[in-house]
């Protein structure tokens, strides 16, 4: 079979717009959390400053970076170019305005967050249209399409529920369902959108970075089956208020996550590359963290302690699984993007640097370790109400975020 040139590389300015924006959002969100430590450790998460910081972190950093990465990864993973790049730039601008105005509104006057929220909603829907149209062009949909497609559906539902929450807060509409909406918003946003997305792209990136060959993919459908059924069970438990359904759901989520970890282990057993890069090893470590948090969440469920442990578990899940995976993979993706822009046309004509020479790998160890210890300290401080622990932990996370931002920005000087 002869293959034609795919021509599927995305204009570098598009993913980089998202990446630069997201680094700024990461830094501001971490400083906001640092300066509002009292509320954070006392479990007062529903105050404007924490709302603002949480949304800036989740939407401004994690969501924007996921979008930027998808503009680069979808064409290469699904062998189809982005549907409309110009639409992508407009989508970036609308979403960026929405995220910034939403974070400001949440901080100053939460009751006025509806209009910024709608702008953000439009930006995210534009992204969903872009991805939907791009994936539609894929010649042969596969299990990765299912993971990424389901993640996009979860993102859509998350944002619809989020807007309903803001609308409910402003008008009292559906106030009886506020709690159901809020819990579903968290579940679908964190475990639905991010986890399914990371699962999907890990299946592409883990074999690529380890040069694994001859592995099987049949286990992926069990991972998808267990995890998505778990999500459905937990979602239904919010609506029907059945605790057994809640526990069953968390058990299935644990089984799904464990199957994913086992499958990645099997893939890596077939690797040709003996020594894996440090950032990739940290992205793999995030899977172990995710597994531990799923296990702890299930134990908390069956011992009826989930309500009191939900906050530290969610913080640890977002930071040690989601953020850690993103940071690990980003350390690989950003050098690739810049390398492609700067050196892809001279490869074969003159000597070009290797991808690992594009970013300071020596900084990876202190950055990743600071994130781990910082997040662990913050999570423990919330569980134990320890002010000093919180400030040490959050200072470590903030410092690691600054160095991470510098390391990423330094790539464009190479």
């Amino acid at each position: 079979m002869i293959v034609k040139n795919t021509g599927s590389e995305t204009n570098i300015k598009l993913p980089f717009s998202f990446i630069f924006f997201s680094i700024l959002a990461l830094l501001i969100s971490q400083f906001l959390i640092l300066f509002n430590g009292d509320a954070f450790i006392n479990g007062h998460f529903r105050i404007p400053a924490i709302w603002s910081a949480a949304h800036l972190f989740i939407l401004g950093w994690a969501l924007m970076i996921a979008m930027g990465a998808m503009y680069q990864l979808v064409p290469v993973a699904f062998l189809t170019p982005i549907w409309n790049e110009k639409f992508g730039f407009i989508q970036f601008a609308v979403t960026a305005v929405g995220v910034v105005s939403f974070a400001i509104a949440l901080y100053i006057i939460p009751s006025k967050a509806l209009i910024p929220g709608i702008i953000m909603l439009i930006g995210i829907i534009m992204f969903l249209i872009q991805m939907g149209m791009t994936l539609r062009k894929q010649a042969k949909p596969n299990i990765l399409t299912l993971f990424v497609g389901s993640a996009l559906v979860c993102l859509f539902l998350t944002i619809i529920m989020g807007i309903s929450l803001v609308f409910s807060m402003k008008t009292g509409f559906a106030s009886n369902y506020y709690s159901i909406l809020f819990h579903s918003h968290l579940l679908l946003g964190i475990s639905g959108w991010f986890t399914l997305l990371i699962f999907g792209f890990s299946y592409k990136m883990a074999p690529m970075f380890s040069l694994s060959h001859g592995y099987e993919m049949k286990q992926a459908k069990y991972v998808y089956g267990f995890y998505s059924t778990g999500l459905l069970f937990v979602l239904l438990s919010f609506v029907l208020d059945f605790s057994w359904l809640f526990k069953c759901g968390f058990f299935l989520l644990l089984v799904g996550f464990s199957s994913f970890m086992w499958h990645i282990y099997l893939i890596l057993k077939k690797r040709v590359k003996k020594k894996l890069d440090l950032p990739f090893r940290f992205a793999l470590l995030a899977i172990i963290f995710g597994e531990m948090i799923h296990l702890l969440a299930f134990i908390a469920c069956i011992s009826n302690q989930f309500a009191s442990l939900a906050a530290p578990l969610i913080v640890a899940y977002i930071m040690l699984w989601i953020a850690y995976s993103i940071i690990g993979y980003l350390y690989k993706i950003v050098p690739f993007l810049w390398w492609t822009h700067k050196y892809s046309h001279v490869i074969g004509k003159k000597d070009v640097p290797a991808l690992k020479d594009m970013i300071n790998e020596k900084l990876a160890l202190p950055i990743f370790l600071s994130f781990i210890f910082g997040i662990l300290l913050v999570s423990i401080s919330i569980a134990l109400n320890g002010q000093m622990l919180f400030y040490i932990g959050q200072l470590l996370v903030t410092a690691a975020s600054i160095v991470f931002g510098i390391a990423i920005l330094a790539v464009i000087k190479k």
């Binding site: 293959v3 290469v76 062998l79 892809s344």
Partner: protein
């Protein structure tokens, strides 16, 4: 060009292609086993059949372009045609000793 000269030129092209590195693995395309066949179709024209380690390789366009540029650098070659194939699929067995050593095997 007689047969011996043709064989010598193909060897020269293969050696020259070692300038094209996979930037992720830092191994050249020859030692990585990506070059399946080099054939001279005319006096100054070459056809190279090659593969990549995975169909969704993000360096797809860069590596193929690199192979073409590299071959065209040779004064004996005026025209290069690159055919990317997925069958037979790449496997680690296609790597050379030097390639395997570079990857830590």
């Amino acid at each position: 060009m007689n047969l011996q000269e043709q064989i010598a030129l193909v060897d020269k092209i293969r050696e020259h292609l070692k300038k094209v590195m996979d930037p992720e693995l830092n191994i050249n395309v020859v030692d990585l086993g990506l070059i399946y066949d080099i054939s001279l179709v005319e006096e100054n024209a070459v056809e190279i059949v090659m593969t990549l380690t995975t169909p969704g390789c993000p360096l797809h366009d860069s590596i193929i372009g690199g192979v073409k540029h590299c071959v065209l650098e040779l004064e004996e070659i005026d025209h290069a045609e690159i055919q990317l194939v997925w069958e037979p699929a790449w496997s680690p067995e296609k790597m050379t000793e030097a390639g395997l050593k570079a990857i830590g095997r």
